[in-house]
C-alpha cells in the first residue's frame, strides 16, 4: 500500500486548467520530490492534497483511505502534516505554545474549558521533545514573532511533526534559507524520510538529490517526467522545462 496516492487529479480556475490529470504515488519510507518552473501548479497540487482546495475530479488516497472529499482538519486528523511555502505560524504564541497546540490536536479532545493548557505536562513535554529534534528547544519561550526567518521555517516543521503525521507535505522548506541553514534542514529531513514518507516541493537541486527517491517534473499542470533523480536530470522534457527558467 502506498502512503499517498493521487489518481487523475484535475483542477480548473475558470477556464485555466491548472492540474491536468495528475497521478503519482509515494510508497512508505520514501521521499517524492516535485519540481517545476514557477506557476507550474505545484502549490495548487499541495493545496488539493491538504484540502485547502478541492479537486474538480480525481482522487487523493492517504494510507488506503480516500480523503478526496474530506475537509482540511479531517485530513490532518487522518495523519497529513504540512508546511507552507510562505511561513505560517502563530505569531502571538510562544514557540512552545505553537508546537503544544499541534500536540493537542492528536492527544485527546480540545473541548476542555477549564484546566490551563499551559500547565499540561504531557503537551509541553511532547512539544519540547519535538523542538529538541530540531535543535531549537532553547528557543521554546520566545514569541514566534521574534524568530529569524530560518528559525520560523524550523518551527513550521516542528508544528507539522508534533502532529505525529503519517505523511508530510513540504512546500519549499528551504525557501529563503542561507547555506548553513539549508544544509541543516536537509540533514534533518534525511533523518526523517525513512520514518515519515514525504512529498517535497523544492527548487534546491542539492536538496532534491540528497533526499528524493523519485522526482516528478510538473509543467503547466502536467507531469512531464517521472523517475529517479539521475534519470530525470537527463530527461529531455525536464531539461526543456527548465531551460529559460531563470529561478534556479
Amino acid at each position: 500500500m502506498n502512503a499517498l496516492e493521487i489518481r487523475n487529479l484535475n483542477k480548473y480556475f475558470g477556464a485555466l486548467h491548472v492540474s491536468r490529470n495528475i497521478s503519482l504515488s509515494v510508497p512508505e519510507g520514501q521521499c517524492h520530490a516535485l519540481i517545476g518552473p514557477n506557476g507550474a501548479g505545484k502549490t495548487t497540487l499541495i493545496h488539493q492534497i491538504s484540502g485547502v482546495l478541492h479537486a474538480d475530479s480525481g482522487e487523493v488516497v492517504l494510507a488506503g483511505q480516500d480523503i478526496t472529499t474530506r475537509k482540511t482538519w479531517q485530513r490532518a486528523q487522518a495523519g497529513l502534516g504540512r508546511t507552507f511555502q510562505l511561513t505560517s505560524v502563530l505569531p502571538s504564541f510562544s514557540v512552545l505554545e505553537n508546537v503544544a497546540l499541534a500536540v493537542q490536536a492528536r492527544s485527546g479532545s480540545s473541548f476542555r474549558f477549564f484546566r490551563p493548557a499551559a500547565q499540561e505536562k504531557d503537551l509541553n513535554e511532547a512539544a519540547i521533545e519535538t523542538l529538541e529534534r530540531l535543535n531549537m528547544a532553547d528557543r521554546a519561550h520566545v514569541p514566534a514573532d521574534d524568530l529569524s526567518h530560518g528559525e520560523r521555517r524550523l518551527l513550521e516543521l516542528a508544528i507539522a511533526l508534533a502532529g505525529a503525521p503519517g505523511f508530510l507535505l513540504l512546500d519549499e522548506p528551504m525557501a529563503g534559507l542561507g547555506r548553513v541553514e539549508s544544509a541543516m534542514l536537509i540533514d534533518i529531513l534525511a533523518d526523517l524520510r525513512r520514518s515519515i514518507p514525504m512529498l517535497l516541493v523544492e527548487h534546491d537541486m542539492d536538496a532534491i538529490f540528497q533526499l528524493a527517491d523519485t522526482v516528478s517534473v510538473l509543467v503547466d499542470g502536467q507531469i512531464v517526467a517521472q523517475g529517479a533523480p539521475e534519470d530525470v536530470r537527463n530527461d529531455p522534457a525536464a531539461k526543456a522545462a527548465y531551460l529559460g527558467d531563470t529561478g534556479q
Binding site: 475537509k71 482538519w73 490532518a76 502571538s92 477549564f114 526567518h149
Partner: protein, 328 residues
Amino acid sequence: MIRVDRSFLLMALIFALLLAAPFVLPLVGQTYLLSLLIKAMLLAIAAISLDLLIGQGGMISLGHAAFVAIGAYTAAIGLESGIENILVLLLLALLVSGLFALITGALALRTSGVYFLMITLAFGQMTYFTLTSLAPYGGDDGLTLWSMATLFGSDVVQSGGHLYLVVLLTLLLVWWGVHRLGESRFGRVLRAARDNPERTEIIGFSVFRYRLTAYVIAGMIAAVSGLLTMQHAEFVSPALAAWQRSGDLLVVVVLGGLGTRSGALLGAFFLVIVEEVLGSFIHEWRLIYGPLLVLLALHAKGGLSHLLLPVTAPARTDAPRTSEDHAS
C-alpha cells in the same frame, strides 16, 4: 510574570471595592450609587462575554445585545407564565439563548470579518423587531413586571434583598470562568484560529466548531446578564436588543482593552460612570463623550487596561538573526 500579578491585583482591588460598596455607601447616604454599580456590573458581564468573542476569537459581533434581550425576555415571559424560581428561569434563559446562538452562529460563522459583523447586526435587528411585535408582552412599550423572581420563595435575588451581591457574585464567576476558558485547551485553539485560521485547520482543528461553541457560550453568558437586568429594572423592553446597545458593548470592550483580563470590566465602569458624571453636569453630555472616545481611541491603544497596566516590552532574545530575517 509581573504583569500577571499586577492585573490580578487590580482585579482583586476592584472586587474588594465592589464588595465593600453596599456596606459603606449607605453610611454616607449614597444608596443611589449602588443601583449605578449594579448597572455597571451587568454591562460588564455582557461585555466580558463579548470579549470572549472578539478578544479571544476575533469574531466582531454587532448583535450581542440580542442575547441580553433574549435572556431578559425569556425570564420575563417565564415570570408572566407563573414560574417564579430564578433557577428555573435561568435554565430557560440559557436554553433559549443557547439555541438561538447555535442557529444564528452556524449561519453567521460561514462568513468572517465585516460580513460577520453585518450578519450579526441583522440577527440583532431581527430580534429587536420580533420583540416589538410581542403584543401580549407589551410590544413596543415593553413590559413592567409586578412580581419578581425568587430563590425558592426567598427575596434574596430581588432589589429589596441582596440583588447587588448576587450580581457581584455572578460577575466574579463569569470573569473567572472566562479567564480560565481563555487559558484552557479550548481557549488556545480559539486564539490560534483568531491569529491564523488556515494554519489552525491544517494542524487539525475545525475552526468552525470551536468558534460556534464560543459563540454559544458567549450568548448564554449575555443572557444571564439579561436575566439579572430584568430582575434589577423590574421591566423589559425591546430597547435591550437595540443595535445601539450592541454598539455600546463593542465600545466597552475595545475601550477597556481587547482580550485582556480586566478590560471589559474597566470599560463597563468607565462607560457607566462617565455617562453619569457628565450627565449630571450638562444635558448634552454626549457632546463631550464623543470627543472623549476619540481621544481615548487615539491615545490609549490597547485600552484602559493598558493605560493602568502598561505592558513592559517582552524581553528580547539576543540570538543572531540571519540576513533573510525579513525576506518573506
